[in-house]
Amino acid sequence: MVHGENPTGFAHQFETLEQQHDAGRLGMWIFLATEILFFGGMFMSYTVYRSLHPQAFLLGSHILEVKFGAINTAVLICSSFTMAMSIRSAQTGKKKGTIIGWLILTMLLGATFLFLKFRFEWYHDYLEHTMPGFGFFYRPEWGTHAPQVQMFMCFYFFMTGLHALHMIVGIGVLLVLTWMASRGRFTSQYFAPLEISGLYWHFVDIVWIFLFPLLYLIRY
């Protein structure tokens, strides 16, 4: 017998389809545990440095535009909703067009997030010389806090950058799901890939829910 998957998505190494779904779901939870530790390491260094240099981190957060952060938060929460709807519509046996519609909406929201982030925040930071490593200028109003303000911006780019990377991966996964949906692969019996990818998408949203107050809302 040759390794590989037959058209129903059932892999040879499993005894039953249910066993395969359980394995997939458990795998994703473990992967998310890994991700929590990954972001956790960053959150921890952020916390240590913020408690060491509270003043500088406050100054740093003034560079960021709360407006865009808030809009993006709303965008992501909406995308979580549309993601959940795509799973729901598969579960309740809706037409494949409905599933695809929700998936495309989710991708569009994700793309909106990235567009706002890159165009109006990162690019703006680059022009304003507040991007560490790319001509970062110490502003006089920061005084002796300037190096630590730069450190804050490092954390900002590092954390939001990794988050954005996860978003891009997520959109890639959604593309694959859309293709699978268009081939009519999902039924009310079989929608495990949707469900498992949904876990990932929600996780990435939750990371942002933590990032937004930690980075943007220090000053309030």
């Binding site: 240099h53 003043q55 005084g143 002796t144 806090h145």
Partner: protein
């Protein structure tokens, strides 16, 4: 018993192999650290021999023989499991308490310690005595006196390690760390850098010269020509213009520094901090992080204008101001 093991092992090695087995023990804490070491060695030897001999015994006694039948009954015993969990735990508790008590006792420098400053730098040790003499890769100390080293690094992390004293501490850039010791044997001992610091790490070594009190006084007198650390600090204080705000006729711009060392200060954020070496270092290099209540935050930073050596001079000067005031007060 530990002494005996030590003696036995030592004499065997010395007689047959001509191998060194023990570093010189030349500080007040060395022998107490060695006691823990030999206790642990004893435990290690005891358990290793125990395990090895049981294994050898079983290997021979229960070697495979034809026609041997399987013995099903010997695969669990709660009594054994509990005893070999609890007994090692108790042994560990004993070592932990003993060793930690010693560590805690040794971690606090005695109040009367003579202070010496150490700056680590790729790849040498700068030693600065408060009386003025400077040394490189050498430290002269009097025997029988408590010496406290306040250490910092100009570049990467180094480690100040004197095996004969059983003391070691990392030397960090941007921080002060300290160790203390009381040498109790005249002699010359190795000083090593114990934290990898780059290409010539293994050449960042030197000597600790432990001298008799009279020899030490003579050595100090030889170097007397140079000014004391506090005097150098006083000159620097004037040269950098510190006295315009912190001078004797203190203005409203900054606090007078007389008698400030070792006293608690009220900070602008409501907390209280004692003025120590780290506090003063911060005040010079990153003044924005030490905002004393009642004064405007206008002090400029001196990062880049003074090196670690000069910071130490300034600290010594501020410290001497405190001493002067106390003497005057008495």
């Amino acid at each position: 018993m530990m002494g005996l093991t030590q003696l036995a092992v030592h004499s065997i090695a010395a007689a047959w192999l001509d191998l060194p087995l023990q570093p010189p023990a030349a500080s007040s804490i060395a022998s107490s650290v060695d006691d823990v070491y030999y206790l642990l060695s004893g435990i290690t030897i005891f358990f290793s021999v125990l395990i090895f001999s049981i294994i050898f015994y079983f290997m021979i006694k229960y070697r495979r023989r034809p026609g041997k039948t399987y013995e099903p009954e010997t695969h669990t015993s709660l009594f054994l499991e509990l005893s070999w969990t609890i007994i090692p735990s108790l042994i560990c508790v004993v070592i932990f308490v003993w060793s930690s008590a010693l560590y805690v006792r040794n971690s606090r420098p005695p109040a009367n310690a003579r202070e010496v400053f150490v700056i680590g730098k790729q790849w040498m040790w700068h030693i600065q005595h408060p009386e003025g003499p400077r040394e490189i890769n050498a430290l002269h100390v009097p025997v029988g006196e408590n010496i406290k080293l306040t250490m910092t690094s100009q570049d990467v992390i180094h480690g100040f390690y004197v095996p004969a004293f059983r003391v070691k501490k990392d030397v960090l850039p941007g921080h002060y760390t300290s160790i203390w010791f009381k040498a109790n044997q005249v002699g010359t001992y190795h000083l090593f850098c114990s934290q990898y610091c780059g290409t010539n790490h293994s050449e960042m070594i030197g000597w600790i010269y432990v001298m008799s009190t009279t020899d030490y006084a003579a050595w100090l007198a030889e170097g007397e020509a140079s000014e004391s650390l506090a005097q150098q600090g006083a000159q620097l204080f004037t040269r950098l213009g510190c006295d315009s705000c912190h001078g004797a006729a203190a203005s409203s711009a900054g606090p007078s520094l007389a008698g400030i060392y070792g006293k608690p200060q009220k900070m602008a954020d409501g907390s209280t901090r004692v003025v120590d070496d780290s506090f003063l270092r911060q005040a010079v290099l990153t003044p924005s992080t030490v905002h004393v209540a009642g004064y405007p935050q206008i002090m400029p930073t001196f990062t880049g204008q003074v090196d670690e050596q000069q910071v130490l001079q300034l600290i010594a000067y501020v410290k001497s101001l405190g001493a002067q005031e106390r003497t005057n007060g008495q």
